[in-house]
């Protein structure tokens, strides 16, 4: 699997102007642009599973699955997940390959607030795919005393 993929993405960002049309906050849009370069991700093939309403934002289960045969000729190379409102837009970047068999990755994330999550997937043909989901975070009523 290819580390250059990430470096290439970083280099591309310099030349891409920020598009004011996007609804996502700038930091997330910028982070996504670092990955996709000049390409426009197509919505589809990607499923982002995250509960629409969570009892607590500090441990939110999240699964990304991609519809892909995962063969040498046609597979998912990377899955990136971003958020709008945390201090940093990147949540994780996973690298996969034909050996993965299935393009499904699960983890647990922190969300400081209700917000939109976006997954960007790069396939072996160099194309990008995306999916988004909104999460509403209801905070616990009985919290620790504030410091």
């Amino acid at each position: 699997m290819d580390r250059r993929l990430f470096l290439a993405g970083t280099a591309a960002v310099v030349f891409v102007p920020l598009s004011p049309a996007t609804a996502t906050p700038d930091a997330m849009a910028e982070a996504i642009r670092k990955i996709v370069g000049t390409a426009t991700p197509t919505e589809g093939r990607v499923k982002l599973d995250v509960p629409p309403l969570v009892e607590n934002g500090s441990t939110v289960p999240l699964t990304v699955s991609v519809d892909s045969p995962m063969t040498e000729a046609d597979h998912v190379k990377a899955i990136h997940v971003f958020n709008e409102k945390n201090p940093q837009p990147n949540i994780f970047s996973a690298r996969l390959g034909p050996r993965s068999g299935k393009a499904i990755v699960g983890t647990r994330i922190k969300l400081g607030d209700s917000q939109r999550i976006v997954a960007i997937v790069e396939t072996s043909d160099g194309k990008f795919w995306s999916a988004g989901a909104d999460v509403i975070v209801t905070l616990a009523a009985c919290l620790e005393e504030s410091p």
Binding site: T59, T63, Q88, N90, F92, R95, P98, V105, G106, K110
Partner: protein, 106 residues
């Protein structure tokens, strides 16, 4: 020594796609939180998780402070040959942890 829990099958049919789940004890301190004394607690996270099967990388994940404490990761792999899967976590403050899992492929 780190506390790690791994869920992976001990045996698999050749060509089967198996799920591997791993959980590790780690605070994933974001570096954005004030401590009891009001000062920011320095960032202490796992930055990278990798999985190899008989030495070849089968999965990798770059993590950020937005990954929850005691990180959980699940992913899939095709069982091609018997061998050892090595899961490895590395991060801030020189953190390194490793867990080996033997999988027999028949």
């Amino acid at each position: 020594m780190s506390n790690i829990l791994v869920n992976a099958p001990k045996t698999a049919r050749r060509g089967a796609v198996i799920e591997i789940k791993a959980l590790i004890m780690h605070p994933m301190e974001t570096g954005f939180r004030p401590g009891p004394n009001g000062r920011i607690i320095p960032r202490n996270i796992i930055e990278r998780f990798t999985a190899t099967w008989n030495g070849a990388e089968i999965f990798a994940m770059d993590m950020s402070p937005a990954i929850a404490a005691n990180p959980f990761v699940s992913f899939f792999a095709e069982a091609k040959e018997s061998g050892t899967v090595v899961l490895r976590w590395t991060g801030d403050e020189g953190f390194v942890a490793e867990q080996r899992v033997d999988i027999a492929v028949e």
